[in-house]
Symmetry: C2
Subunit: 104 residues, 2 copies
């Protein structure tokens, strides 16, 4: 099994950092793709940035506690972190709803 | 009447920029003070930063469309922007509720 990326503990997830991670159009686009609560691979994040910039955005979401990343061979599967979405449910669920209606 | 600070038009207020503005502990603290929807002066924002840093934080909130700033003589009165809170009501109202319960 490949080495798995690090994720912050739930108690270390900070609202300010969550907001900061959401504060970018490309990262909001990634969140929109992830909103169906299933795992996605990076090819599915149709953001208009290069591979290293996409990796940077994904790292920010992971380190903020918003996403869970799982390596399988050379592939990385990304999904929303259910525990963080439980903790900040009202804010994050309404964010996904807003993104689904394409406002903002 | 003194020159008033500039505010973005509501249609130019972007969700990503709103989140970016909220992505800082000091600015979340300012939002907590403003949550009663009345005007406040900068002395009331009890954040542990110097005057120029506080001005910087207030500028970011204003330029993101979150706050309205009104000069009166040498004083500046700050309040939440009702139109932005109407537009992103679910996300922003739940953010204020979360801040009121001191989570995050």
């Amino acid at each position: 099994m490949p080495r798995q990326p690090e994720h912050p503990d739930l108690e270390d997830v900070q609202l300010a950092r969550v907001f900061s991670a959401l504060g970018d159009p490309a990262r909001l686009r990634i969140m929109t793709v992830l909103a169906d609560r299933t795992e996605h691979q990076r090819e599915e994040f149709t953001v208009d940035v290069g591979p290293s910039t996409l990796s940077h955005h994904m790292k920010i979401l992971r380190e903020a506690g918003l996403t869970h990343h799982r390596f399988e061979g050379t592939r990385c599967f990304v999904s929303l972190r259910a525990d963080t979405f439980d903790r900040f449910a009202t804010v994050l669920d309404s964010t996904l709803q807003l993104l689904a209606t394409d406002q903002g």
